[in-house]
Symmetry: C2
Subunit: 296 residues, 2 copies
């Protein structure tokens, strides 16, 4: 059981991790080990105080070095489903079958609001899944569609290919160009997905010029819709609703950075990460005290 | 008329200044040119993302270089009274007789809540003043007490000595050790101030073992009580009340950093400064638009 799970390795998550480490918390830091790709893409950042006119690449390097110097490791995985269990959170990732568990949660997922596919939300949990590890098992020996966004999904595709009889893959990258030689039962469909159709459950994956009968569809993307990721999370205008302490509507769950809204800025994200970390510590202290009082 | 006046040169004010400069705003950046003394005093800062294990001295140097590189100047003065005039703010400093004027205001004054002297608030505006430049004139040829905290007050003491007939000085520093040879009409009282007494107005300055009849008392400290500094400003528990956009209860007035409350952290302060700057830009845009519409 971790003290705090941080979801996302952008400036907000990094800032939260640094402060929690200083406060001796046992943290799960989930995200890309190479940090948020958005940092590296920035050309020139002029208003991150103390690091004048820094390139995205150099800022990323500075963050990486800071994490290394504080001995903070990143668990290279992405959260697919997070459930508030009362006094802890259960976090399903893609890399291990057992969910991670943490007493508190800091969401630092960034702003990438995913474009959903028509039918995706309608059939979610009824043939549509975001999590190979969580739901792959149900499709043993069946035919599944896989919509893969980003090469981070390669491991999950391999895992699904081991379980399913047949995998119909729609990917936004060329597998062979990323050293991924498709297993024999994976058929690459070189079209775009248009919609998911069905009646009681998802039954058909409709692409640009053909349609495929399927038993289920896995949509593998890095960013899951926030309210799907954390059922019950209050959002407004696509952003997580937080108060000044970065507290969300769920006890023990905090949010920071671009996922809480504008301005989309490094300094703002780092500042909110710092606040969220302090709020998580306050929450953990109160939880510990309540448990001790219950014992007496 | 400045677009934005920033009060305070700590990390929050610096962050706001950098962003406003990027946004082409005409700023008044009021505070100590050597930046907030609190930064330099910090031994080791471990959780300012991107600058691992940095000393206060080095962080201050990094901030100074960043301001220089962005060609941001500091006006070495301290705000004593700020009035919201509707569509602009009037800011009385200590270095010039005319108040500064700015369309919007960012308070980044830090956390130093001043200890008030018994009688100080009671007689404020009735014989007690914080501002030599604003009120010195009223004491021409009279006897005044001056309670000076910090060597930054030396210029003001000199100014008051030029106006008043007699100055009774209680200082928390030894003037001669700071190259300040007292004017002939300034009498150094080597005691501590206990209280200010009077009936309709302040009449007596009571020190540890003696008391002095005075016509008025000037209390010269770097940090003025926030609600005295900005009449009408909403505060709670000694901190400025702000929303998530760092907006205070006064239109066009924003606050950031330690003065808005815990956690007292560099990253938090810098993040809030960034948000306050963006909010000020939004406010200025709306004000401009409203003025144009009024013209048409």
């Amino acid at each position: 059981m971790y003290d705090v799970a941080i979801i996302g390795t952008g400036p907000a998550g990094i800032s939260a991790a640094l402060t929690l480490k200083l406060r001796n918390k046992n943290i799960l830091f989930l995200g890309q080990e190479s940090l948020s790709p958005k940092i590296q893409k920035a050309h020139l950042i002029q208003n991150y105080p103390g690091l004048p006119a820094i390139s995205g690449e150099k800022l990323q390097k500075a963050f990486t070095e800071h994490l290394a110097q504080m001995e903070i490791g990143i668990t290279s995985d992405s959260a697919k489903m997070i459930y508030a269990m009362g006094d802890y959170f259960s976090i399903s990732g893609t890399k291990q079958s057992q969910p991670y568990q943490a007493k508190s949660l800091i969401l630092a997922t960034g702003v990438n609001a995913p474009q959903t596919i028509p039918g995706e939300k309608e059939f979610l949990g009824r043939g549509v899944s975001y999590c190979a590890t969580c739901d792959g098992f149900f499709y043993k020996g069946k035919t599944i569609g896989v919509v893969a966004q980003g090469t981070e999904s390669i491991e999950e595709i391999k895992y699904l290919a081991e379980i399913a009889q047949k995998v119909l893959l729609v990917a936004d990258f060329a597998p062979d160009q990323h050293g991924f030689s498709l297993p024999q039962n994976v058929h690459l469909i070189e079209e775009k997905i248009e919609k998911i159709e069905g009646s009681q459950k998802a039954q058909k994956m409709v692409c640009t010029s053909s349609a495929f009968e399927i038993d289920g569809v896995f949509i593998l993307r890095q960013n899951v819709d926030l309210q799907v990721l954390v059922p019950g999370l209050a959002c407004g205008d696509g952003f997580i609703t937080v108060d000044k302490n970065m507290q969300t509507n769920i006890a023990g769950c905090f949010a920071c950075g671009d996922c809480t809204g504008k301005p989309f800025q490094y300094a703002k994200a780092a500042g909110e990460g710092n606040i969220a970390a302090h709020s998580a510590c306050t929450y953990l202290d109160a939880q510990k005290q309540a448990l001790q009082q219950a014992k007496n």
